[in-house]
Structures are given as C-alpha cells and as structure tokens.
C-alpha cells in the first residue's frame, strides 16, 4: 500500500450490524392502496395503518414535494408526489419513487468513524458522536488559530450544504465551493447574465407546456428527469409542438423530435451562429422587438454575416438546408419558442460563450417573458432566522477565483488547487468539510484532487452513504436521509411562488443525524453557539413560516403552499418593453460587460482538438433513474440500471472486432486507464467518432456492495480540462479514449 500521510482506505471497519431489514420484510400480498389524490391516512389491504408525512425529494436537486407513507412499524412503504406541487404535479420521477431505497439501504453509514493509523494501513474505527464532533471542532479551531478561518474550506451540495454554509460563515470562512457551479451550470448562468441580466436558475423558467418549438442543444430532457420539464415536454408532444434536438447521440429527446441534428461534437457554437445568420439575413425577426428590447443588433448582424449555413456545415456536418429549415421553424413559432439553456454545460472551456449564443438566439426570437418561451418566475424569500452578524473573512473563494472575473460562486477546483502547498499560493487551504458531494466522481483531473487530499491536514465527510470520498476522510459523520430529518424550507421560483416542507417521517435509523444538528453541535464546540439559537431546527422553520403567514402545523398538514403572484403576469404583453438588469437595460446581443472585461462581446467559434486515429471523443450524460454517483447503490434504482455501458456505433465496433456485451477497459489520451472494465453497447444511436456512457458509475468503495466495480467512472477518464476564462468552468468534453481488451497490469485508481 502506498505510504502517505492519509492512506486511501480500501477495506475498513465501516459501521457494522444494526440493520433493521425493513426493506426485505415486505409481504407479497400486502398491497396498499393510495393515490396522489387521496387522503392523509390510508389503510393497507391488510388493514395496516399508513400515515403520510410531507417531504421534498433529495434524490436529485429538482426538489419535488411529496408524501412519505409510513407504516406502524416505522417502515417507509412508499413515496408519492404532492399533487399541489408545481415541481412535480403529483408525480415523482423514478428516482423520487425509488427514494425508499435510499432509506432502506443496509450499506448506509451508521455511526461516526475516525481514521486510525495502523502499520499495514489506516482503518476506520467506530466512534461516538462526542468523540467525532470534538475531534473535528478541535482540528478546525486549531487551523483557524494557526492559519485563519478561511483555511478551512467547505465543499458541499444539496440541502445539508445550507446548514454547513451557515456554520462556516459564522466561523469566518467563505472558502466554499460546490460542483453545481463550475462543473455544471455556471457557464450558462454567466452567459445568460451577460445577455439578460440575470441567471436562468433552477428550475429553468421554460414555458414548455405552451411552446410551439422546443430546441434542445445538448440538453437531454427525459434522460435528465427534471420532472416538471419532462411532464411539460410530454404536453408539448401532445399538442404537436415542433421539437428540434441537437446531439451527436440520438438521445431520448431526439427520438421524440421532428428534427434531430446529429452534430459533430464541439461545434455547437458554429450551428448557433449559423442559426443567427439565417434569422437575421432571412429577416425572420420581429423588427419592432429588436428595436425596442435589444442592444447591439447591428454589431451582431455584421458579426454573423459570414457564418452562413454552408460555413457551418463544414464544421458541424449538419446540412445547410436543415440549418435553414430549423431556423425557419424557430422563427415561425416565435415568440413561443424555447432554445433551452441546458443544464450540465461545462464542455469545452468556451461554455459561457456557448451559453451566450443560446441566450442571444432567444433574444433574437423574442422568447423572453413570452407565453411558450420563458415565463417570468416569481418566488417568496424565506425570512432569515436572526443570528449575530457573520465575521468578515480575511480572504475567501473570490480571492481563489480572481483569474475568472465573472465567477459568481466558489470554484470547487480552485479551492482544491489552493489545498496543494505552493510557494506562490497566498491563500492556503488546510482542512475540508465535505458534505453531500462525492468529489472523486465529480471533479475532473483526479491527480490534482488526489494531491490535494493528501496535502490537507484534515478532511471531515458528511454523507448518508460510504461514497468514494469517505475513503479519504479523517472523520466520517453519518447523515440521516432526507426522509428522517428537517431541512430548510423549499422556496420555489415558478409561474407561481410556492413553499414546501421537509419533515422527518420517522426517527433516524442507526446512529445517523440530520445536518442541522451536526452543524449546531460543531458550532457550539467552536464557540459559535449564538449562531445556533434553537434546540431543534423545527423552531427555525416554524418562526420562518409564521413570518410568511403560515406555520409549521399548517405545513405539516399540507406539505406545499402556493401563493398568488405579486409581480403581475408571468408574460409581457405584446409591445410591452422588457425590463432587464443589464448595463443597457436591454437584451445585450453585444455584451457591454464582456467587452469591458476584454472578452469577445459576441460569441466566436473556435475549433477544438480532435481525436488521434484510434481514439474517440468521450461523451457522458444522465440516466433517468440515477443522480450523479449518489444513487448507484440504491436497491430500487440499481435494479433498474446497475451499471453503465459504452455506447458505440456498429461501424466502430466492426473496425475493432467488438461485439455487444464485450468488456473493455478505456485508456485516455494521457494514458489513464479505467479502474474497471465496461460492457460495450453496440447501437445505431451513437456517432462513429465518439463513445458515450452514463455518468456516476465505477465506484471504488467496496462498502457499496451493489455499486462497487459496476461500470466505469467517466470522471476518472477526464484529465484534459479546458477552463472557461470568463467564469472558471471546467470543460470536460475534450477527452479521447481508446480501448484495451486485456486487463491492464496496474489499472490507475
């Protein structure tokens, strides 16, 4: 075993025993009767009384509100959607329905664990909460004393992140990052902000149910089960809306589309520019809208003059007549058209500009604030529970992101980089708290991550499951699942504002605890008790709800509360002037902000590297039943899909002599070899110059008994990362792989 300060723990004494085997005691004939439209307490067919509790889902980040049905023995029978909720309209997606499996997983983290050094490698020893919390508090306090509070960093995702963010700000550290920004949707947010003066946000305010034309460019609705969008896409299909999907792979959405444009990967900006060219030079735009609401039309017109469909054909392999036809489809539908902003958009390092190109196209088509385009969302702000003012940190994530002028959130990879000692580094990170994010499956360029994990003095991990990141921890804290805890009120920005409550349906299994409790316990131990002036988080929620004209009691009964809009119609009227927070107050086709920062004010197309012979571009995406790498061990969901496969065009398979189901190892352009093999799926749905796999597999922690070694991790194969100079997004589609049929001597792990 490798000798380092903190050995990677492969086999360890992770929590033992105590499983209540709730999931396996189900009786075949015990079928219960309930529907999303029915009442609060129902009887199972055996006369078992089931009680329902409100929640909002944490299996992904869409946060659909639902009902958890609990039997008298404390078993969770079923989770269904809350019929009043605009995120789900009473229907959860497979992940939400399978949330049961997250609760009943016998592999869950059960008790706090502390790393103990042994001669033949480190092991985890079970510990009491007192011991674990005391240790973390003393380590963090010690680092604060020696290096300053900002040297303790928080890397987080999801609901638990909020509780720790409060703890960290109280502690004096704003060295906070979450992969949802630089590794996911950050580029589109900044591209959108430069055009429309604000973020798209989540859920995206796309008026899909009333659209006449939905354009998906690298957006896999249906494979990413963004619930309300999937439901609305089905409504759009019913109404006969035109769907245009741009994707090198025939995605699920592509199968539902009138036009599928099988684009050559990395050339999307060329297509977007050609579409702008057609709309402008075929005079398909609404001149009054352009005059009234946009800034820089003439500059854009000049800019795209040479970007004809014929020019784009050479780059994209999409035929000019198809580019023209689809541009005309969009324009005919305008303003009831949506060129979808996409979600996971960190691809090639010019992603802010691609996001901008999409935003500009929407600007030309006049879809902003229009029925069937983008509605004007509204939300209710949840009042802040009173606490002392946060101290001002001596430095924070902004100092780490100073090379990226438009970064608006912590860049996870920069926090990680700042954890590696360097002479130049003014700001050193010395310890991490990692909450709800499995960094080895999230952060590309594993070598840097590994170096950082070895360099920092201390890592504490909070999770529900023994994810890969847990193996690098000094202390592991078992969080209870979302079904067993209170969390912050979900305030949703939708057509109408709404709030949703998550409350525990039962007490936590094993010795797991909610994140709010962990944050409070750590806070008290670090002398920050004033910031946690409550005994139970339900007091905070009740106080907030009272301020909002509701109460905990009301919400425990309803789960969701919708409020009337205060900002008027979700759509602009015909001829009404659009109001935006850009420098010019208009839709900036020419970005004054980007120009002032020295960036291209209008997107340009640049060619990206192409694979050497024998190598194929690695594309990855989502499956509807899985979220990131967090669900691969869920019994219900792994039953639907227990591994990823490598999508390969039959021509490619033929060249290599591969057959369907054959296992191969992948090797990337930097010589990195996959830890596990992957089965080939030979399919006509894939381009011949690329291969595709679903993200989130290839777990290396044996404690995940269902997921360990199933499939491979795309993230491991991503070592060439193109950083977006504008906001620091990590472009991850510039990697190429080839195939090894033999098991390599020493696979890179």
């Amino acid at each position: 075993m490798e000798k380092s300060r903190r050995n990677f723990i492969k086999v360890s004494a992770l929590g033992v025993g105590g499983a209540m085997a709730l999931g396996s005691s189900w009786n075949l004939v015990n079928a219960s009767v309930f529907d999303s439209s029915k009442g609060e307490e129902v009887l199972s067919s055996e006369g078992k009384k089931l009680k329902r509790y409100p929640t909002y889902c944490e299996v992904c980040f869409w946060k659909c509100a639902g009902w958890v049905y609990l039997d008298e023995e404390g078993g969770i029978e079923k989770i269904i959607g809350n019929e009043k909720d605009t995120h789900c309209e009473g229907r959860l997606c497979p992940r939400g329905t399978g949330g049961v499996g997250m609760f009943s997983d016998p592999d869950r983290l059960k008790t706090p664990l502390i790393r103990v050094k042994k001669e033949d490698g480190d092991i985890f020893q079970e510990a009491s909460w007192e011991e674990a919390l005391d240790l973390i508090a003393s380590k963090f306090s010690g680092i604060k004393e020696k290096y300053g509070a900002p040297s303790v960093a928080l890397l987080k995702h999801g609901s638990p992140g909020k509780h720790f963010e409060h703890l960290f700000k109280a502690f004096g550290s704003d060295t906070i990052g979450e992969p949802a920004y630089a590794q996911c949707r950050g580029p589109r947010e900044e591209g959108w902000a430069a055009t429309f003066g604000g973020w798209v946000g989540s859920p995206e305010p796309t008026d899909i149910r009333d659209t006449k034309c939905l354009v998906l460019i690298g957006s896999h609705i249906g494979e990413n089960m963004h619930n309300s969008q999937v439901q609305e896409m089905a409504q759009a299909i019913d109404k006969g809306s035109c769907i245009i999907t741009v994707d090198p792979r025939m995605s699920t959405a592509a199968t539902k589309s009138k036009y599928w444009l099988p684009i050559k990967p990395s050339t999307d900006i060329a297509l977007l520019l050609a579409w702008m060219h057609v709309i402008i030079y075929d005079e398909l735009y609404d001149a009054k809208h352009i005059e009234q609401n946009t800034h820089g039309f003439e500059e854009l017109k000049k800019h795209v003059q040479t970007f004809t469909p014929e020019w784009a054909y050479g780059h994209t392999t999409i035929k000019p007549d198809v580019i023209r036809k689809t541009a005309h489809e969009m324009a005919n539908a305008a303003p009831a058209v949506i060129v979808h902003p996409g979600r996971h958009v960190a691809w090639y390092g010019d992603d802010t500009q691609r996001g901008r190109a999409i935003a500009i196209l929407n600007g030309l088509l006049g879809s902003w604030g229009k029925r069937g385009g983008f509605y004007l969302k509204e939300s209710i702000s949840v009042p802040k529970y009173p606490h002392p003012k946060y101290p001002h940190p001596k430095w924070d994530w902004k100092d780490l992101a100073k090379d990226y002028p438009m970064a608006k959130m912590g860049l996870t990879q920069e926090v990680i980089r700042a954890s590696i000692p360097s002479e130049a580094g003014e700001h050193q990170v010395k310890a991490w708290l990692v909450a709800g994010t499995n960094l080895p499956k999230t952060i590309p360029n594993k070598a840097i991550l590994k170096k950082a994990m070895e360099a920092v003095e201390f890592i504490a991990v909070v999770d529900t499951m023994p994810m890969d990141i847990v193996q690098h921890a000094d202390v592991v804290l078992p969080e209870c699942t979302y079904l067993e805890r209170y969390d912050g009120i979900r305030s949703a920005a939708n057509r109408t504002p709404s709030i949703a409550l998550r409350m525990p349906a039962r007490k936590p299994m094993y010795d797991s605890k909610p994140a709010w409790w962990i944050a409070k316990q750590l806070g008290e131990r670090m002398g920050l008790g004033d910031y946690f002036n409550y005994n139970d988080y339900s007091e905070v929620i009740d106080w907030q709800l009272q301020q909002m004209g509701s109460s905990l009691e009301e919400m425990q009964h309803k789960g969701v509360k919708n409020f009337p809009r205060k900002s008027g119609s979700p759509y602009y009227q015909d001829g009404e002037t659009i109001k935006l927070k850009t420098n010019t107050g208009k839709i900036e086709l020419y970005s004054t902000e980007l120009a002032a920062l020295g960036f291209d004010p209008m997107p340009v197309f640049t060619k990206h590297p192409e694979p050497d012979p024998g190598f194929y571009r690695l594309i990855y995406g989502r499956a509807p039943m899985h979220t990131f790498s967090r669900t691969s061990n869920n019994a219900n969901l792994s039953d639907l899909m227990d591994t990823n496969s490598l999508w390969m065009n039959p021509k490619t398979a033929n060249v290599w002599g591969f057959s369907a189901g054959q296992e191969v190892y992948l090797k990337n352009q930097d010589g990195i070899i996959s830890e596990f093999p992957i089965k080939i799926r030979v399919t006509e749905r894939m381009r011949w110059d690329s291969v595709y796999m679903v993200h989130g597999f290839g777990h290396s922690n044996r404690k995940l008994t269902r997921a360990f070694g199933h499939g491979i991790s795309d993230t491991d194969m991503i070592t060439n990362v193109s950083i977006d100079p504008i906001m620091g997004g990590t472009g991850m589609r510039g990697n190429f792989v080839t195939f090894l049929t033999e098991k390599p001597e020493e696979a890179e792990s």
């Binding site: 004939v29 999303s36 249906g222």
Partner: protein
C-alpha cells in the same frame, strides 16, 4: 367490462418510473419486475427510429397461461384481469413457457408472479400504480367497453398496435404509435 391499457410510445421516455412504482406498490422483490422497459432501434445512423415501451402482462382475452395451468392458479377475474393465486401455484412454469410476452417470473417464494393490473387499486376506483406515477402521462388505463374511459379516449383518435398479434392471444395492451 374489459380492462385495458394504452401506452403512448411518442411520449414514453423509458424512465422506468412505472417499474419502481410497481415494485413499491406490489412489493415485487428486488431483482424481479412485473413491468419493464424495452427499446427498439431501426435504421442506420443517422436515419434511426427508436421506440421506447413500457411492457407488462397483456391480460389476454385468449390467454395461453390460463389454459395451460394445471392447477387453475392462473385464472381470469371480472374485467378480464389475469391473476395467479400464489397458494394454488405449484411453480411448474408451464405458464411462463406459454406466454408470448415473457411477462411472468418465478417469485423467490416459489410461485409464479406477474402484473395484476393493480386490481386491488382498480376495484377501489384508482388507477394502476404505473399509470398514476408516469411523469409523461403516457399510460392510459380503464374499461375498453366504456367509450369515455381514459383508455378508450386515448385509442379513439390515434393509430395503435398490439404486441405479437400473430400469437392470437387477444392482448389488452395497446401501443399508440
């Protein structure tokens, strides 16, 4: 009364929510399923047609599984729903062999199991679990003899097909195409 189901292949995204919903509703053991998703791909890239389908027991009018069952465990109840009585099933698998849809499996406790059209819900006026959960609303269920049922309305103005009609089993599940 004749229960049937229509599934809109133009809307199904193959997410398998129907499968999880069935598992949690009917306590189908992990590793088994009463419904499942299939994908058919025709053509050559990039001229490709893909169809995603949620499949299950077709509750056939002329059901070979019922005919061949030696104990009468497989039987048809009112509304044409084909059921298996676990206590009467000897697990001989004749029904599994006879089913052209591969819709049955042997439950770990020894008897044969399959989709029941959620008759325990249906008799209380509820939709099947898969219908009630489907995020794209692509599954329609109801009485085929009632022209105003969801399923009849779904079939009224659309082209549809059944699977393996040549088997002559009279399937009661239809796919809108």
């Amino acid at each position: 009364m004749r229960y049937g189901m229509a599934i809109d292949t133009l809307k199904c995204v193959g997410c398998a929510d129907c499968v999880v919903a069935c598992q949690t509703e009917n306590k189908v053991p992990i590793g088994y399923c009463r419904d499942w998703i299939t994908e058919t791909v025709d053509g050559t890239y990039p001229l490709v047609e893909v169809e995603l389908r949620s499949e299950r027991c077709n509750h056939c009018e002329n059901s070979p599984c019922v005919r061949c069952c030696p104990t009468g465990a497989s039987h048809i109840i009112e509304g044409g729903i084909v059921l298996v009585t676990p206590e009467a099933c000897i697990g001989c698998s004749a029904c599994i062999e006879s089913c052209p849809y591969d819709a049955r499996y042997t439950h770990p406790s020894g008897h044969v199991d399959k989709c029941t059209f959620c008759h325990h819900r249906v008799e209380k006026g509820l939709n099947t679990a898969c219908t009630s959960v489907c995020p794209t609303h692509c599954i329609y269920f109801g009485d085929l003899d009632n022209p105003r049922s969801d399923v009849s309305l779904a079939l009224k103005n659309r082209k549809y097909k059944a699977l393996a009609p040549e088997a002559g089993t009279g399937p009661q599940i239809f796919y809108l195409i």
